[in-house]
Symmetry: C3
Subunit: 509 residues, 3 copies
Amino acid sequence: MIQIGVRLRKSCRFPWGWIIVILSIFVFWYPVTEGIAQNTQEVPAISEATQDCLGCHEDETPGIVADWRSSRHAIMSVSEALKKPIVSRRVSAISVPESLSSITVGCYECHGLNPEQHQDNFDHNDYKINTVVTPPDCSTCHPTEVKQFAGSKKANAIANLEQNPLFHQLTDTVTGQKDLENEILTFKGAAPMAKEKSCFACHGTHVTVKGLKTVQTEFDEVEVPDLTSWPNQGVGRHNPDGSFGACTACHPRHSFSIETARKPYTCAQCHLAPDVPAWEVFKESKHGNIFMSQSAKWNWTNVPWRPGEDFKTPTCSSCHNALLVNGAGNPIVERTHDFGSRLWVRIFGLPYTHAQPKEGGTFRIKNADGLPLPITFDGKPASSFLITEAEQQSRQQQMKKVCGSCHGTSWNNQFFSQMDRTNQEVDHIVKTATQLVQTAWKNKLADPSNPFDEELELMWVRHWLFYGSSARYGAAMSGPDYVGFKYGWWDLTETLVNLESLIKEKEQR
Amino acid sequence: MIQIGVRLRKSCRFPWGWIIVILSIFVFWYPVTEGIAQNTQEVPAISEATQDCLGCHEDETPGIVADWRSSRHAIMSVSEALKKPIVSRRVSAISVPESLSSITVGCYECHGLNPEQHQDNFDHNDYKINTVVTPPDCSTCHPTEVKQFAGSKKANAIANLEQNPLFHQLTDTVTGQKDLENEILTFKGAAPMAKEKSCFACHGTHVTVKGLKTVQTEFDEVEVPDLTSWPNQGVGRHNPDGSFGACTACHPRHSFSIETARKPYTCAQCHLAPDVPAWEVFKESKHGNIFMSQSAKWNWTNVPWRPGEDFKTPTCSSCHNALLVNGAGNPIVERTHDFGSRLWVRIFGLPYTHAQPKEGGTFRIKNADGLPLPITFDGKPASSFLITEAEQQSRQQQMKKVCGSCHGTSWNNQFFSQMDRTNQEVDHIVKTATQLVQTAWKNKLADPSNPFDEELELMWVRHWLFYGSSARYGAAMSGPDYVGFKYGWWDLTETLVNLESLIKEKEQR
Amino acid sequence: MIQIGVRLRKSCRFPWGWIIVILSIFVFWYPVTEGIAQNTQEVPAISEATQDCLGCHEDETPGIVADWRSSRHAIMSVSEALKKPIVSRRVSAISVPESLSSITVGCYECHGLNPEQHQDNFDHNDYKINTVVTPPDCSTCHPTEVKQFAGSKKANAIANLEQNPLFHQLTDTVTGQKDLENEILTFKGAAPMAKEKSCFACHGTHVTVKGLKTVQTEFDEVEVPDLTSWPNQGVGRHNPDGSFGACTACHPRHSFSIETARKPYTCAQCHLAPDVPAWEVFKESKHGNIFMSQSAKWNWTNVPWRPGEDFKTPTCSSCHNALLVNGAGNPIVERTHDFGSRLWVRIFGLPYTHAQPKEGGTFRIKNADGLPLPITFDGKPASSFLITEAEQQSRQQQMKKVCGSCHGTSWNNQFFSQMDRTNQEVDHIVKTATQLVQTAWKNKLADPSNPFDEELELMWVRHWLFYGSSARYGAAMSGPDYVGFKYGWWDLTETLVNLESLIKEKEQR
């Protein structure tokens, strides 16, 4: 309960006003504008083109206009941004075209870029507008991020699913339509929406232009590009300018907030149970426990980001991509938008763990069995496609630096050793399951032509794709339940026991 | 509670005092009182009866008294509330009895209403008190909301479960006690608590008065009504005044906070996986991602509610019931407490999607097969009980207006088309599963007299009730995992494969 | 409670500055230091030893130093803490050694205690340092808490798993490595990491000293103790000083925040689905609904804690361990760190519910069948090891006092009666499943020598360990989905039906 009683008789001479103004800036401006704060420079001008956009869209789509107005793009020009020390910058360009330099980054500044590349460019009230803003557009101001991203597995997310025959078969089997023909279950090709709204919602769709079409808006008839597989914001989306990627997958429209991108809820959209339970394991870990309990008090927007000062427990972004500095302001790790580049081992998506692939386009890998997988079913790695032992050590060393902000060397060493041993243990039990299925195939109890469409095969896929991944993630990020009872060793054991039981029953039939 | 007393006698030449006062109001008052803020009117008087209640209950049940004191009911009289412009009002009554008009809405003002209707009315320290406050009581000030609610599926939640013979059978089978008699598993009737604490916890119980009983409180012996199936806060609860509904299901006691009602955690109590995974899908969507990352900064109490300004991404209430206005203050959609009234299609709870029923009491539906379902197992809708195509279009148009706050017309059109196509795809695979089960019934491999009590029947129920719903929700609200690996097409495929495998095995036995 | 009264008679000779300073303290300091606020005493001195630690670790591990600096340990000396009224104290010691009394509780004050007891004590830059801080160390200032904890099931968490032959067998079967030998699935002993990273991550590992080892830090080579099964923060951890327990399991390093300990995310690390779904049920309950919607506004650090004033809906800690006071400041319940001591019945971890064990070391129990379980498979309790009926009543009475802060006597009585009846219903259906398995064992359809390693046995374990627990928790804490479709009666029914079906199929083979 608060009582504030104030009586004022005469007057102030002292300039308390300034103190109050400063207070106000802190109290009101800080949270609203994500810590942009002490700018005393003027808010830059809005371009004439963007003014025209706002003229209609303030009424037409007020939500995104209000969102943009609250963003850094709306209150900071690139030329101002470039006055900051490099370590504090959010733009990686050294310079930008003069026409973009001193104004807000508004509607037209993004949706009007590179029109000649954009098959989705269209005439809209005398402006040439792109529907889809793409990584090459963003690279006008953020070239380093776009370049890093372009080499990543994320940018290859579609090809890695479509051009890898095995993954393609898995995808098409799971999302395939099924009919009953003569009382026999018959697999049809992928149901288009099933595929687009599941796998390709995260991996990205092919957004191409079929032509123009007329739509009736609240206000008017408008002619717009007719796009395939749209809307989609998959991280590896194939765009109408030929590029791959959707920055908005993690920096959602139209505030493009670094706070949102840094929060684990963003990564959690795609990296979640049952196949990639990173989010669930994090949430259940001590790190997640502290994040959930305390993170409302942290500084989510500071660049560079300071462990201990700005945040007290790591999130996805602090370990995997953010630029972190120590108390003296020196980098602990550099920012990267190639999100696997601090990782040495791959612990999900395949039966066995293996060294990270050298390149983001994993569909190009070929192992000793001729399969497009980084490791054979017998556990032999396709080494020429994978990073070297030295590179693995170097990346692990980099991750240890992140952990070292709070944990001592001995703790770190033993923790990473535990993770290695967990991977070996899980690979071992997955091999047992794989041998069971291989025996069933050999003994004609199942048909290997599609390894994903029979009862015992689906058990086997659950075994490694869901439960093997869980047990490994649970150890790597300290979520005990995911190693044990929830998709972990309990389920690894159960699928194995049931697999053997089903095979025996089939043998006896 | 906050009292800010300000007396200004003469002046500061510059009114710094006012700045401080305004600052203080903002900083302290705003978050504490949920933005009630700018009331300069006096806090209304507490009635004598309510004073008497508080006299004991301040000690007896301090939690709810403190909760009430923090509520709008405690600081705003109805007569003050009625001074607001209609669009900003939270009361829909034009006038209220004079005895209620100028006082706080306290204990007795709610628990003392309509005593003659209330079988749970009892003498309590010389007052006539109802234990259960019901929608007719709330309608004293909120008649429009209660009327809208009364026609909804929610208000019919008990009858829709109990008076639909198929749903009744499902409920009683699942919550039924099971014994082993002569080594045969034998199904008994529903275990009472199993039913009350699961299905009926959300749908509501029958709360009736058995008589009076004496209880020993901390302070005294008290005679109170002896209620059946109490406590319960199910949304369709049958109350001791004969009415149906529990406003407190969403506006929990005793702050009745609009903030709580607007937050998706409230809806999530009942609309959650595995059968109605609305909450899980939302949380995993881009909307949910932004909600989880940013919503602490939003204005959760503003009436009317402004997309973009007050909140930046929709929650359950913004799409399904809140009054939204655009920047000019004009309604985008009107408030409704008939929560299905913006929906055109029903995507859960039944094997196939179908047009929304015309009336909340769906137990009255009869389809071409004579079953109390809106669609036959062969997919023929019971059209006379369902809304027309024109009404479906009109409702979809209304929802598009909500989406249109942030998304363009083309985006919206294609999104809704994707949703329609998803429903068709899921209905198709569910039909395949249904045909398998129908064949099994025909071939005496299962007994259709209870379609919910055998291994293959339970697989089939999982298929449509859990996994079909998930795949549809996942597409409707953009949670890819629920279309794919987590209760989606993975599980649709697996149950279908296992169903066929089990049937084959039974045939061979 | 805060009163800011300001009267200005004459001019701004009056110190407006102070008002602003007080405002600032409130606005900025309050949230940062968890409401420590009104200390006008000086921040105590940092000991010379701790200064030396900080000298390096400010750079070496900046995260934990910043975390500690934000803690109460860093700004409040024990002598100051002891000036508070007992009811408001966080230290339970009457006095502490004079050397610790007037300084901050810094690095050396904790890591330098009781060196002669610590096998993990080592020379570190001329200081004798313990790697692991243990409950006996914490008891220097918090003896009551440590004593209460020592008698709890939590402190016996390792022994209760390892020294109970049945639980030991379950653990080793689930986390056991499995090989294929002559095409037969063969169970090996527990995979060490599988066990440490799942069961023992929560229960605790044996942390012993193998000797010294040299590690290469960023700065230097350092000789440190070589610890087994480290890192681990399991609540029952066996420490290198011979003690059991890890206070940091709930009060995580190095802020040891009471806010974190009080938030349910902390308990949720171990008490979660599928075997102990306390967290999931809470989150889905009306209490959880309000917590998720409103808790950002609550006072999480007040001691003692006031229902209604400081928080509006209970969390784990308010019901199970915190000191609560009513409006008059009188205790409702006393603080306890024996977390089961307010509980009368045990509803998870075993097929049937039973009275709470008398002692934390449940591995010492022996029932009428000679098994180390508190109840036989036929439902006969090992009463001499369990609390009496009178003690059960007394504990239930205590819990009702907590509930009584918001709920009336009749509500409470009926709620607890519903919980009792739920337990009986669930015990009944679990008994049916148990009889099915016992019959299978008798008829040689399964081998009881290991009751956890065959398909039908794993179904049975799921039945009671996952689904029985869920249905009971769901009723005890009002999460309907966990009583019904999500791990509740749906799954109880399904496992039972499938169990009978599998047994029949085996009989026919």
